[in-house]
Symmetry: C2
Subunit: 268 residues, 2 copies
């Protein structure tokens, strides 16, 4: 049995306003931030936690977020750099179904998809103010059809029929891999902690906390379903990090990102 | 018995960002909007619905909202133009306790104050992201002390000991004056409908809907406690307006404001 390894797969970047990143606090102005996927090589299989955004989708639906993404920053491209193919991935875990966290799902044709039951439900019936967030439903072609939409032309989708496994509550989904409920940003949001043999655990906040600055200021992002729950999730993440002596990895942090080890480097 | 008359008392203006007025939609950029109080001359007494902001408070706590307010745009000044004194007001109704809706309460020393029970509770225990909204607690000197704060030096406060009457549910508080629950912006938010002898009812949305554009787009403001409830309140206001053939009066609408009749003119 080999030790668990964690790779951060650079997924390019997007732009939002400072008032989006720091709800009602700002300051205003364009803020470019990174997106990434997390690959976990575990003795039970290969997991990917979140899959970034699809460039064509963003250009079609939210071009004002100015995506910058090279071929190496797509899921197939990033995996190829590690000599892996998309079909080598056994499990996809989605923290939530906003477009910048599930855009690469469709490439992972052999994976079982794990998510919170409430999140899949929310993606089916988003609030009116969540429509852009949930605009990329290619993670579930069946959902696209249920919405009366057409699947975009995309070779990846031709061979993609995802199998979902919905869960709820905190869960150790594999030895040393913990999903913690952190709702508020969306209805069924999960953060992920990975225990490693040779260092402190990694705690991936996903969008329960975009950045260290959000945590330090205790300010949530402007994209949220329930701000009261969001603040409670910030508090929860801080407590989890303390309890488990875990290092927090933020989802969209232009200041922390340069300090993270990116693939082909890894944490173990 | 004389007919009910409704006066709109200009309270000056403030500035917020377009992303505050139109949550996550914008466009970005400074937006100056009006604030006003509503005086209702009713056979049961004189009512004021909301009391605008206190210039000194805004300059001390939120100067970035760039208040513009002349002496005639304060509660005492606006009443004086109608040959009324603050002590002539019998009832204050607060839609909610954000600073730009209760800043003039302290002048109305002889009024009974009516509000939603949940709103008074929320003002006592605001969420962390609501602290600026609830920053002016001079509407309740007892609350200022409970917060461990000092009352600002202000002659108005020396003679002000408000009497609260908390209510809940929809209420006809006086013949033809209806308070409708419209929560979401805050915990215990009320909108007010006034029936008149000679024209359609007036439905004052207060901050359940800042502007006609918010209603047309079905977009709430970025200042909110519960966005799902906020959207439902938008829907409710639209339905109430239809049901009662009422005219909607928005709380902070730079485009509708010029078309409203301002005191000394009135609706009756």
């Amino acid at each position: 049995m080999s030790d668990t390894k964690v790779y951060l797969l650079d997924g390019g970047s997007l732009v939002i306003d400072g008032f989006h990143a720091f709800w009602n606090r700002g300051p205003a102005g364009e803020l470019r931030f990174p997106c990434y996927a997390v690959l976990i090589e575990h003795k039970d299989g290969r997991y990917i936690f979140d899959t970034g955004y699809d460039h064509a989708h963003v250009m079609r639906v939210l071009p004002f977020e100015k995506p910058l993404q090279t071929p190496d920053q797509t899921i197939p491209g990033a995996l190829a750099k590690l000599n892996l193919r998309p079909k080598d991935i056994n499990f996809v875990i989605n923290s939530h179904y906003h477009f910048d966290h599930c855009g690469g799902n469709k490439h992972l044709t052999h994976a079982c998809t794990v998510c919170h039951a409430k999140e899949l439900e929310a993606a089916r019936h988003p609030q009116p103010f969540e429509h852009l967030g949930y605009s990329d439903a290619t993670f579930s072609p069946e959902l696209v059809k249920a919405r009366g939409q057409k699947l975009p032309p995309d070779p990846a989708l031709d061979i993609y029929t995802p199998k979902f496994e919905t869960i709820s509550g905190d869960q150790e989904i594999a030895k040393g891999m913990w999903l913690y409920e952190t709702p508020g940003h969306t209805a069924g949001h999960y953060s992920l902690m990975v225990e490693l043999a040779n260092r402190r655990p990694l705690l991936f906040t996903a969008d329960a906390c975009y950045s260290k600055k959000n945590m330090d200021m205790m300010v949530i992002s402007s994209f949220h379903l329930d701000p009261v729950a969001s603040v409670q999730s910030l508090v929860r993440l801080k407590e989890l990090a303390t309890k488990h002596d875990a290092e927090l990895f933020y989802s969209h942090d232009p200041e922390s990102w340069p300090g993270y080890i990116k693939a082909p480097g890894y944490y173990s």
